[in-house]
């Protein structure tokens, strides 16, 4: 069995010590890219989610899986920069909106963006709309990404979008806003007034790439 296969199983079994050991081995292995390791983690995370749906696992398993993802990320990230970030794809401002503390998916999405060469500014969870505005003024991101899963998040996304749009003149540009999370759909996106949406990290990356392309032309 390859190191990546073992890593996949270790994460599904939530075996922290083993997963970290394997992640360290994998980064040192030839022919294994950081991207491959992260993809493996994402697949494993999905399996943990399925076990949760089947009630083989409970909530704390998901929290642990999210933690494992972050820990593996910390192992992989130093190597990632050596390889991939040459042609900076652009800057993305990201955060889980006010009233919502789900961040497992947001972190997965951030990792996917980074592994595609994006510079990601992650404001964390429960982020008030004013913080998105202030950070936009400061670092002038190419895209603003709002993550959220609970109902309350949709109102916060809408409030943040409105605030940013009201300041378009002051900012001097209109950064595209993308919303995402497992419970997102087109209706919520139009309620929020965002430019695009997704329920999948990789699709989210493609959307950001697309938005940058159209904005540059």
């Amino acid at each position: 069995m390859s190191t990546l296969d073992s890593l996949y199983l270790a994460i599904i079994e939530l075996n922290e010590a083993l997963a970290l050991k394997l992640a360290r081995e994998a980064v040192a292995e030839r022919g294994v890219t950081p991207q491959m390791i992260l993809t493996t983690c994402q697949q494993a995370l999905r399996m943990v989610g399925e076990r949760y749906e089947r009630r083989e696992y409970y909530l704390s398993a998901l929290v642990m899986a999210g933690e494992l993802f972050n820990e593996v990320l910390a192992v992989v990230q130093p190597f990632q920069h050596l390889v991939e970030t040459e042609g900076r794809a652009g800057t993305v401002l990201l955060g889980t909106v006010r009233g919502d503390i789900h961040d497992i998916g947001k972190n997965v999405f951030a990792a996917a963006l980074r592994s595609h060469g994006f510079n990601v500014i992650d404001l964390g969870v429960d982020v008030p709309k004013e913080a998105f505005l202030a950070e936009t003024e400061r670092s002038r991101p190419d895209v603003i990404c709002l993550s959220g899963l609970v109902f309350a998040a949709y109102d916060s996304m809408r409030a943040a979008t409105r605030l940013l749009r009201r300041h378009t003149a002051g900012l001097g540009y209109r950064p595209p806003i993308v919303v995402g999370g497992g419970t997102m759909d087109g209706d919520i996106c139009s309620f929020v007034g965002a430019d695009s949406w997704s329920t999948d990290a990789l699709e989210g990356v493609r959307i950001c790439q697309e938005l940058l392309r159209t904005n540059r032309n």
Binding site: L14, L59, A61, M64, E67
Partner: protein, 264 residues
Amino acid sequence: MKPSPRPSPKIRRLKKPPSPEGQNALEPSQPVYLMIADTLARRIAQGTYAPGSRLPSIPQLCTEFGASPMTVRRALAALKQKGAVSCVQGQGTFVRVPDLSKATFRLSSGTGRWVEGSAETRLLSVAMDRADAKTARILGLAEGERVVSLRRLVTDPSGPLMYYCEYVLYDPRRPLLESQLQPTSLDAFLQSDRGVRLPRGELTVRAVNLDQESANIFNQPEGKAALCLEHVFLDAEGRPASWGYVLLRPDLFQLRAQLDTIGK
């Protein structure tokens, strides 16, 4: 938690007075000695007579209540029976230091606002953590083992009221976190009017000094004294499943213990 409509006596009235003559305290016209006992009990509960302090002497009490020494002695005997005071031969009657593990707690907010629906509980974080020495001891783990930590804040329009930290045993195959996330777990714990009685030693109350983090949250100076309620929740088998503490905003909450040795 509904504020009681009237200032209720904090020590329940005796059901069976230790009456040598077999008087019945539940008669509408209460014997004088019981009224005196009640008054003294109320003062003890309110802190007029501090734990460990000496009550006024029998002659003093006779003067105050206009009662005979016999009646005052009977009142003191009733209090002693309740466990509220102890008598030291030749020295007087002393307020017992309450045994908190035998008390039923009522938490009363200065305002009562936070129960009126204007209060909300915000989950601040749920994260993987590692057991420190205390958590390890309480939950029966080795230090450094994984636990899930929860942080919550109860707020109302006036600001934060309670800061709640909980450490839950990490077990991916049991819904321990689920049960802690149910709003009722916290409510039940704080249900003041009914008073939650936890098994002996499961609830402790301490005065603490706010550390930097909690001082920031309450917007109060660091080091300020606050009440801290610590508790252990047990699983169905009676093993500890989580422990936590609730910090109460210093200016809002008082704690009243209702001694529960009455009628036993």
